[in-house]
Amino acid sequence: MADEINNPEYEVPPELQGQVSVTSIDKIYNWGRRNSVWPMMFGLACCAIEMICVAASRYDFSRFGMEVMRPSPRQSDLMIVSGTVTKKMIPQIVRLYNQMPEPKYVLAMGACASGGGPFKEGYNVVSGVDKFIPVDVYVPGCPPTPQALLHGLITLQKKIDRQSIKSVRWYNDVASEPIPIPVLGPDLIDPRDFPRFAELQAKAQQAANETGVETES
């Protein structure tokens, strides 16, 4: 990256070479962000143990500027969803996501967070955290090895590199809406499904009426 900053595609007068760097604002903006991704200290299940190992000395993700794990969502840039997302936990996860300031990223670590994993059929398991919050990087594995998680984090850095300050959502004119927080009812209720409830009920009503007519005739 330093090379790119010092060797832009612009001509620098000889007397200023080595003293002035010319680069695009996107490059310098992303260069700063990609090397200081602060993950939230947030563990859900088995994968959290491997996440801790990545933070420890053998794999050491501080090499990539990520060692500052923040216990508070207000100070973090990255949510590593490390483990099985359950129905009882998803309201808190969505709330934490809403509390994170922009720019924010989500990494789904492991099979459970990506799609339910081995526990998918369980009655208390959400089939992947992306049913509720947007995910930037998926890391497969059960649990992913530390190398796999590092690869996922580097993939996220590459994604950050490709973003442009002109088009990122947090500089849009319209502020992004918080995600509605799911409610625990007889089963998990997603407020975004409310219209669908009415639709299904109307359909069921209609079907009941039709069969009713048939039996009468």
Binding site: L44, E50, A56, Q92, V125, P186, D187
Partner: protein, 586 residues
């Protein structure tokens, strides 16, 4: 009459209770059948006169074809010996059983779990609420006629996967594209969540007194504050939550709230075939996958009536004890985290843990989720290279490292002042609350399943049970250091004596035949007694599969440990119990 039935008739307990208690004479079942109305008296006699002071496991079984729900109790003597198993059968339509909490307080959470998942109502229980799911959840999931949203078939392997193999995504067949199902006619509008009033009862009571409606005088009221820790909290070791009521900084009550990682281990386990459950057990206590395998393998082997070969027994012991070392290193590192030494001690112990994980990876192919044990043996043999590596670790490297930990931590002023006299559980309380493992032994009770009721080949090794007298945070830490040393002793003996030969009885199988019956296999897991209660009806899948999780039951005594302590100590006390949420919530 056979020899066995003759001894059954002369059983002293049956003779004593005459027609109130009978032997469970179903094929391959054990224990006594007690009538619900006699349960309290029976349990009291068992505890007070016959010395079965330790109630290990309480669980329910749904015998749908017989229209019966059964509650199964396993009680032991802390002086050692086999179990007293007793059962109560109640009609499925009206399952009411007297609660055993007044006699065995350790039944508290387990009865709540049976209520939550099976809908068995325990009369006289002080606080019968749902524990793993939330209030308002529809139905009791472990009932055999309850079906999850993604229900496909009763038993695996499912037809869409094998042999037909018309694979589809189950989401595509569901109304919301999600893992949800609602009762008919359910509309979310106008629906009010149950809330958590019961958790905040203390707060409400003082509110009422202030407004002049409650009993009590306002000037006697302390400054009661309710603090909610978790489920997202850096020091609750996962998604655990506690609702703590404080008077100033002193704790007056503490309500653990769990279930945030309840991933339906038992329901999925009853759909799985016996062998399919093995990798799921890895994910219970995900730090100790090897010894989780051990308990499950023992339970099913007991039903099948097979024995692993000699070499496999040795490898099992080596792996289980290495797991204990891993777990205790981890627990000590993170206890120090909770005491304020953030991450430095943890980095040291993780370094040592990685060495053992390399061994696990070499033998099983995975660092954490080893899935290494099979019924009647192991998945693979232990290679000479791996054995050499283990010898190097346990003979040369770890003993010095444990001494190093001991030197730096044991005499450390902060560890001592924050540990000594904090979170005390006396020996009687520890037994009453069914605490297990290091928590029980730190309270001065020398109860270790490896010695008290030896399984596998533990009786051949020379080792001591680590015991400490004070029952505080500091002693729990010391017990763990002692246990690492004892485990090293065991592994040193095992790698010296390990014989050659087979590592598996018979050919490796994809499907095992398990005869009908019940069995309870228990091992001394690093966190305490891990038990598997398995009921087979002769089909390829277990009829009932229950896990007695030490992390879950050890929390029963948490409130007792915390009352009267300061809020800052809660974190240290929780760290000293050493829970893993995968096992607590299952």
């Amino acid at each position: 009459m056979t020899e066995e039935t003759k001894t059954k008739a002369e059983d002293p307990i049956v003779a004593r209770f005459k027609d109130q208690v009978s032997m469970d004479d179903r094929q391959a079942y054990e224990g006594y059948l007690v009538k619900p109305e006699n349960l309290i008296e029976f349990a009291r006699t068992l505890k007070e006169e016959l010395g079965y002071d330790y109630l290990s496991s309480v669980t329910g079984v749904d015998y749908l074809p017989d229209e019966k729900l059964e509650v199964v109790y396993h009680a032991y003597r802390t002086s050692g010996g086999p179990a007293a198993v007793f059962k109560v059968q109640v009609p499925r339509a009206e399952p009411v059983v007297p609660s055993l909490v007044p006699i065995y307080p350790g039944a508290d959470f387990q009865e709540r779990e049976a209520w939550d998942l099976l809908g068995i109502r325990f009369t006289g229980h002080p606080d019968l609420r749902r524990i793993l799911l939330w209030e308002g959840f529809e139905g009791h999931p472990l009932r055999k006629d309850w079906r999850e949203a993604y229900f496909e078939e009763e038993r695996k392997p499912f037809k869409n996967r094998w042999p037909e193999g018309n694979v589809y995504r189950v989401e595509d067949k569901k109304a919301f594209g999600k893992n949800v199902s609602y009762p008919d006619e359910f509309t979310p509008e106008g629906w009010v969540p149950e809330g958590e009033q019961s958790l905040y009862a203390a707060l409400e009571a003082s509110e009422q007194i202030r407004s002049g409606n409650g009993n009590g005088r306002e000037d006697e009221l302390g400054e009661e504050v309710v603090v909610n820790l978790g489920p997202q909290h850096p020091s609750t070791h996962g998604v655990f939550r506690m609702v703590v009521t404080l008077d100033g900084e002193t704790i007056t009550s503490l309500k653990p709230v769990m279930g945030y990682l309840h991933r339906n281990h038992e329901k999925i386990g009853e759909r799985n075939t016996f062998l399919m459950n093995m990798p799921f057990t890895d994910r219970l206590d995900y730090i100790c996958s090897m010894s989780n395998n051990f308990g499950y393998a023992l339970a099913v082997e007991k039903l099948m009536g097979i024995q692993p070969p000699e070499r496999a027994e040795y490898i099992r012991i080596i792996m289980a004890e290495l797991t204990r070392i891993v777990n205790h290193l981890w627990a000590i590192g993170f206890l120090l985290n909770d005491l304020g030494a953030f991450f430095t001690p943890a980095l040291y112990v993780i370094n040592e843990r990685e060495l053992i994980l390399d061994v696990f990876e070499a033998v099983s192919g995975s660092r954490m989720m080893c899935n290494y044990f099979r019924f009647g043996g192991l998945a693979r043999d232990l290679s000479d290279d791996a054995l050499q590596k283990i010898k190097e670790i346990v003979n040369n490297r770890l003993p010095a490292k444990v001494d190093e930990l001991d030197v730096y931590l044991t005499g450390n002023e902060i560890v001592r002042t924050r540990g000594e006299g904090v979170g005390v559980l006396t020996a009687e309380q520890a037994i009453d609350y069914s605490a297990a493992g290091p928590v029980l032994r730190a309270s001065g009770v020398a109860y270790d399943v490896r010695k008290a009721d030896p399984y596998s080949i533990y009786d051949r090794f020379d080792f001591d049970v680590a015991v400490r007298p004070n029952g505080d945070v500091y002693d729990r830490y010391l017990v763990r250091i002692d246990e690492i040393r004892q485990s090293l002793r065991i592994v040193q003996q095992a790698v010296r004596d390990i014989p050659g030969g087979e590592y598996q009885t018979g050919k490796p199988q994809y499907q095992v035949r398990v005869p009908a019956g019940e069995s309870y296999g228990r091992v001394e897991n690093p966190k305490g007694e891990l038990g598997y209660y398995v009921v087979s009806d002769g089909k390829p899948n277990p009829w009932r599969y229950h896990v007695r999780a030490p992390s879950f039951i050890n929390l029963t005594g948490m409130e007792q440990m915390c009352i009267g302590q300061k809020i800052a100590d809660v974190v240290a006390i929780l760290g000293s119990i050493d829970i893993v949420l995968g096992e607590t919530d299952r």
